[in-house]
Amino acid sequence: MICRDLLRWLAEREAGRLDARQSGELASHLRECLECRKTSEQFQRGMADLGQAYSGREPLDLSTRILARLDTRPLRPVLRWALALGELAVAGILTLLPSVVF
């Protein structure tokens, strides 16, 4: 039973999903089964490798590129409309102002 589902048992133990009885059952099986013990050792090496593996470093100019994209990003439609309406309002005031004042 454990032999067939060994990877699942090991993964569940690693994720903290086995209770004390199940952990004992797994440990007892690993003491008795040489093949499963080997796989368990490989599993542990895989865990260590996953933790230690180097993924890569970001390019040095990444922050510059992010900031450049933020600066050149087009305004959202709501803002574009607000700006256009504001410009119209100012133009209207400037047009009407002389006739009101004089």
């Binding site: 990877l7 699942r8 490989q42 490798d49 996953l50 990444l62 992010i66 994209r69």
Partner: protein, 195 residues
């Protein structure tokens, strides 16, 4: 709670000072610069793990910070910044996964060299295999493993970032580890048959 298992924290950014968080929320460009500077490396590594391609990871990081800046009003500056940032990143990655569907593994960027030649070769081979195995995992597994092993998030932090219960995180982590180990062992070409 750190939870069971081997977890190596890889240069996770420091928690943001509340004052900086507050200024960021108000749209202060200097606060945004601090945030980009502090977290771009962690976001880039997360992107590499999730997409496997340097170009995709770079686009991903740019999208994260643009999105974060546009949605800054949704951030509550009295709460920790990183879980919010990671939540935005995970949601964006899911959207990109849905759009792309397919991934290809590319060679890792050159690693800073130090140590014996033989050790370096072994480490490079390990890094390549881990990267390739991750790219063979399902996107949900990759997301879970990237959060756990690339950012060193605890199970409780993962639950907060993903917006799920602790039990669900454990269940996802268990399935993700099984998925990864199956791919990793298969790539290793080991003579011992997988169960």
């Amino acid at each position: 709670m750190r939870g069971p298992g081997i977890v190596i924290i890889k240069n996770r950014g420091p928690e943001l000072e509340p004052e900086t968080g507050k200024r960021f929320r108000e749209g202060d460009p200097e606060a945004l610069r601090i945030i980009i500077w502090e977290y771009q490396a962690a976001m880039y590594r997360l992107g590499l793990r999730m997409f496997g391609q340097a170009a995709d990871a770079q686009d991903f990081v740019q999208d994260i910070f643009i999105h974060v800046y546009e949605k800054r009003r949704l951030y509550h500056s009295d709460r920790p910044f990183q879980p919010w940032l990671y939540r935005v990143a995970v949601n964006l990655a899911r959207g990109q996964h849905r759009r792309k569907r397919e991934y290809a593994w590319e060679a890792l960027p050159e690693k800073p060299q130090s140590g014996r030649a033989e050790d370096l070769l072994l480490a490079e081979e390990r890094d390549r295999r881990v990267g390739e195995a991750l790219q063979r995992c399902r996107p949900l597994a990759r997301e879970t493993l990237a959060l756990r092993f690339e950012t060193g998030a605890s199970l409780a932090e993962m639950a907060e970032i993903l917006g799920v219960s602790l039990g669900t995180v454990k269940s996802r982590l268990s399935r993700a580890l099984e998925d990864f180990q199956r791919c990793y062992l298969a790539l290793g070409g080991d003579s011992h048959d997988l169960p």
